[in-house]
Amino acid sequence: MISLTPAGLYCEAGDFHIDPWQPVARAVITHAHSDHASRGHEHYLVSRVGLEVARRRIGQAEMQTVDYGEVVVVNGVRVSLHPAGHVLGSAQVRLEHRGEVWVVSGDYKLQADPTCAPFEPVRCHTFITESTFGLPIYRWDAPAELFAQMSAWWRANQAAGRASVVYAYALGKAQRVIASVDAQIGPIYTHGAVEALNDAYRASGVELPRTRRVAQLPRGHDFGDALIVAPPSAQGTPWLRRFGDYADAFASGWMQIRGVRRRRAVDRGFPLSDHADWPGLLQAIDASGAQRVLVTHGYSDPLVRWLGGKGIEAQALATRFAGEQGSAETDPAPDEQGETLS
């Protein structure tokens, strides 16, 4: 039902694309990270709750919205969006045509996240899954435990009169951090790129603790008690000078690996991801009940081989969401939008 074309994943029966990377007539968008939501299509279909965020990325365009679970029929194909738990508004796309069901998962995670609806398993015949963290070395700690560590780190820096700078992708990860860390500890300040998306989240009805843009503060402001949330691209820039003595940390699944953490040269790495870990991928695949699994961006080869060993028909799908284990997977690029790069 879906094939890979130069423009991206294409549903021929319904004549529309899913997360296409070249301009098309009709695009169904799983979520607003830039490697999935590109500009220039004539018509977009997005989740209703994700509209505000999508507007920030895509700008003015013809956008149709649907609630999660609501079915729209496109040229005879029944299309519905279901929560993917990745970021606000993120969706799995369910397609049904002549009794056959496919689900395109986009990016997803199974962990709890106060800023978006939880992942919802959808039964299907063919499941298209990501594999960003498709190796058994990736197994996330419970969010409560991880945020307790992050809060303790902030408190310790505060006691030493040092600002705490956390680098987190501006869409999704930053809001998750802000909503989950213990906001009683002190003030939370943000980089402009983060605050723009905080606004979009709040406008969409997500409650976040009070945050203020760093740029709004007077010169000479003392940041010693504060948590500052900035996109990864801020690391190593003069923008950080105003914080005086600061400790920095990077919140990303890649921080699970010591060598990557050291290469990133931050004081602390928090392995926090909006993607599924290895047990999460296997659980989601199992819950889909799919007989066939197509694996996109990430560690697709090992996941395909593992599934094959378990008697599941699996093959890799070379989307633009990533090359074959591009270095982006191990070296989080200073891109604020997502954990994978196209």
């Binding site: 010591r258 560690y299 081989r305």
Partner: protein, 531 residues
């Protein structure tokens, strides 16, 4: 173990030497002597003998995690560190442990190492893993594999202990030199303000030279300097204490058994003598290439044939102890005079005085340095005549002025992923040179590229892979590098028939295409020039 794991994290998460020292000091102040003793033992690069082979550890972890070998290998490729891979794939721990480092080593690791029964060993290992999570588990694995690599040198441990004890770093280093055993008594003795009589066999910590990058003329008048050749062998200290002789390599490994002829030299010296020098294979006229010495290294009780084929000498260049008295505080000139008198008086066999080079000016020195290769040396040593014999690597008093390395333009033909902070990136390359229209493997090199260049080459490798053999990728020829190396000699073990010493990447040659790389014939010609 929790406290030691915290130290490990602190050392691992900072690049600042000061912060590392502070973390070490806090640790040594916080913990009991028995724990501090083991921390000193492991952080100075020791490990328990035969705790468990790393491969067995790895295979058992895969079994517990229920991972097939290929998937475990994929994980290792991504992590680039065996102990860490093992820690990450294992199921989460069932309980925690409050036992300290010494309890973990003495009550868990030592019995494991002592057992000859594989089933008992793995049962003990599993039990340990199920008590440890996160960094603690990683540290436990590192205790077994012995590869800490947290950017802490023996020297920083010594400095931290000096700060904790209020002693001079040289005193701590001296007490720690030799075969130091990790007991609480020894740790207390190590930081004791009272002077303790050094053990009879203890060598002195070595004094090391910095590399001279610029022109030596910047060092001022040449007559302030004592100049010697820089020998390409292994640094060693020969001691005569009481009736016995001791030969130490680089101050921390006793190598008496490998070099019986040098013990004869030691026996000819008066008791209470310490000589600093270089062991080289001597062919009667000059030092043989380093490769010849490698045949003698790591051999216990070498046979007659090898002794005759590769005879060694100690090239003596410094004297640290006379009649049992420490003379390191004397000037280089004075120590040299005493060394010459000693050698003349006792004429020990297999020992040669390091000849002095006495040029009239820096220009004459440059001319003499050009002869280095034909003399089989690596360049020159410049030592201030008024320099004392210090501890460790200090800028100023001693310089090594090495000859320019050889260089060859070669093409990347295979790539493998690296380790440590290069985990997951393709950073280990095999280089080829042209021979009869094809690129033949010639040398492997891992270092020399900047982080940005590494990312560039990594991307190239991923996008231009022709074939994969396990972890090795066959790469389409496209990247040319200038390789530098110190020595070259014929080799039967290498496909190209050539072995080079310390190959590394000098430069990424973006300006060159594979066709511009050197040929095997050009490289072979270097051997001719070297001999």
């Amino acid at each position: 173990m929790k406290r030691f794991a915290r130290l490990y994290s602190e050392l691992d998460t900072t690049n600042s030497t000061t912060a590392k020292l502070e973390a070490l000091e806090r640790y040594f102040r916080d913990v009991l002597p028995q724990d501090a003793a083991w921390a000193v033992f492991f952080l100075t690069g020791n490990k328990l003998r035969r705790a468990m082979p790393a491969r067995r550890l790895y295979a058992f972890a895969a079994q517990l995690a229920q991972l097939p070998e290929w998937l475990m290998d994929e994980c290792y490729e991504a992590v680039g560190d065996l102990a860490e891979t093992v820690a990450l794939v294992l199921p989460p721990p069932r309980t925690g442990s409050t036992a300290t480092l010494s309890a973990w080593v003495e009550q868990r690791l030592m019995p494991l190492a002592a057992s000859a029964d594989d089933a008992e060993r793995t049962a003990r290992l599993e039990h340990a893993w199920m008590e440890l999570g996160g960094v603690e588990r990683l540290v436990w694995n590192k205790l077994i594999t012995g590869e800490f690599r947290v950017g802490v040198s023996a020297r920083s441990v010594v400095r931290a202990l000096a700060a904790v004890s209020g002693l001079d770093a040289a005193v701590v280093a001296h007490r720690l030199a030799g075969e130091w055993r990790p007991t609480p008594e020894n740790f207390l003795a190590l930081i004791s303000p009272q002077s303790t009589e050094p053990a009879a066999s203890t060598p002195y910590p070595l004094f090391l030279a910095h590399a001279l990058e610029g022109d030596p003329a910047s060092l001022g008048p040449i007559d302030a300097w004592q100049i010697e050749w820089k020998w390409d062998g292994i640094r060693a200290q020969l001691l005569r204490r009481g009736d016995d002789a001791y030969l130490w390599s680089r101050g921390d490994e006793l190598i008496n058994e490998a070099f019986p002829e040098l013990l004869e030299s030691g026996a000819a010296l008066p008791p209470g003598t310490a000589i600093d020098g270089e062991i080289v294979v001597w062919d009667g006229e000059r030092a043989a290439p380093f490769g010849a010495l490698q045949k003698r290294l790591g051999r216990k009780a070498p046979g007659k044939a090898i002794l005759a084929q590769s005879p060694v000498v100690l090239i003596a260049y410094d004297l640290l102890e006379v009649d049992g008295g420490d003379i390191r505080g004397l000037s280089m000139v004075e120590r040299r005079a005493r060394l010459e008198a000693l050698v003349e008086h006792s004429s020990p066999p297999h020992l040669r005085l390091s000849p002095l080079v006495e040029p009239v000016d820096w220009d004459a020195l440059r001319t003499q340095r050009a002869r280095s290769r034909e003399l089989g040396v690596e360049g020159m040593m410049l030592k201030r005549r008024d320099s004392m014999y210090g501890v460790g690597r200090v800028r100023g008093p001693w310089w090594k002025w090495k000859i320019e390395p050889y260089s060859v333009d070669a093409v990347i033909i295979y790539a493998q992923r690296g380790h440590g902070r290069r985990a997951s990136l393709y950073t280990d390359y095999t280089f080829g040179v042209w021979h009869e229209g094809a690129l033949v493997p010639f040398a492997k090199a891992y270092s020399g590229l900047t982080d940005t260049e590494i990312l560039e080459v990594d991307r190239y490798v991923r996008e231009h892979t022709r074939e994969k053999f396990g972890p090795v990728r066959v790469v389409e020829p496209g990247i040319v590098c200038e390789l530098a190396f110190e020595a070259i000699q014929p080799s039967k073990r290498h496909k190209s028939g050539i072995a080079v010493r310390f190959p590394r990447i000098a430069r990424l040659r973006r300006d060159k295409r594979p066709a511009d790389a050197d040929s095997l014939e050009t490289v072979r010609a270097l051997i001719g020039a070297a001999q």
